[in-house]
Symmetry: C2
Subunit: 66 residues, 2 copies
DNA sequence: CTAAATTGTAACATATATATTACATTATTC
DNA sequence: GAATAATGTAATATATATGTTACAATTTAG
């Protein structure tokens, strides 16, 4: 599961820890999502988007078969 | 978790059962997601989008605080 | 270069998404 | 309006996302 969480997070000057606290999850969860090792829930995806001021498509969209 | 799965599914003439089979999940899972009682995984959201020819934003986006 | 901050990752525990089975309810077709 | 299809929903089981704790590795700041 590749995504743009890391680049979006850096773009708003947040560390993994800060983003995690803002959202109410663990730093490890953010780390694993950025590394593509977790399949996050929709709610968590939305919370991440709100924190980095982007939409689902901008951060998590993957073209079919891509 | 309110979403537009049901309306999108109907728009492409699929029953819950057919959508579920296309995606490889159970009919119950589709039902519960449509009713807003499940918090689906990103992968499942993407698979639903592919099946109904829409994007994440079109089917699952919710405005912050809305 | 060294100390501190940031990030990666592992083991185990817990919460929850999803499957399975089954039955009830609602909508559709004849 | 009866038969059939489609959907809602409940109980239990399983898989997996996430938390917790801890430590290693990497990056950044002084």
């Amino acid at each position: 599961m590749d995504n743009k969480v890391k680049i979006s997070r850096i773009h708003v000057n947040l560390t993994q820890q800060e983003l995690a606290e803002k959202i109410g999850v663990t730093r490890q969860t953010i780390s694993l999502i950025e590394k593509g090792k977790y399949n996050p829930s929709l709610k968590l995806c939305l919370d991440i988007c709100y924190a980095v001021n982007k939409t689902l498509d901008e951060v998590f969209w993957i073209e079919k078969g891509g």
